[in-house]
Homo-oligomer: 115 residues x 2
């Protein structure tokens, strides 16, 4: 994967898709946070929301590192998790789209087998 090259057009599409996925995941987190906070009835519930945010902050921070060398793997993950769909990646070169599609298919098989 370290020999993948990115054209200017590809870089632009990639940056946009990256930003789209991040914005979607953050919007989802905000909605999730508000629902959990609204449902919090006790101190324990409140500190559970706090730990939830701490955990999500760490996960999102680690996941959204924009590095071209890791971008295909990241797009596979974001497709598998549902933060991106095919249309968000339209315009990328076919070899990249194929790698992402194949990566998603491996994920799918992985979960179907229950590994």
């Amino acid at each position: 994967m370290d020999r993948i090259t990115w054209s200017n057009t590809g870089k632009k599409i990639a940056r946009h898709a990256f930003g789209t996925a991040l914005a979607r995941e953050e919007a989802s987190l905000l909605a999730d946070f508000k629902a959990r906070a609204a449902a919090a009835a006790t101190q324990d519930d409140m500190w559970a929301v706090y730990r939830f945010l701490a955990e999500r902050d760490g996960v999102i921070g680690r996941k959204y590192e924009f590095r071209y060398s890791e971008l295909i793997s990241l797009f596979v993950l974001l497709r598998a998790e549902g933060w991106l769909d095919e249309a968000d990646l339209a315009g990328l070169r076919d070899d990249k789209l194929t790698m992402i599609r194949e990566g998603c298919a491996r994920w799918q098989r992985h979960f179907e087998r229950g590994d």
Copy 2:
């Protein structure tokens, strides 16, 4: 202050007052948290709520240490902050009540002078 002694009755009243103040401050924090979370409209608002909880957790944890040697000072603080009132301390020996009252008066003067 290190020569203050506590009778069994005094200890019981002190532990009860300590618990009452903590429960009030925690209930207030929960209500404050829920109001801030309900008003959160953006990611930034959400992380501001997160930092607010982190800060309150630290402050409350440091404040509510039950040590007899520090209890008069703590009760002065809790009276000054409004988490305890005179009635919560009823039954403590007069010398303790006087020390607490005098401590509160010093706080009062401190803030009136704007130190």
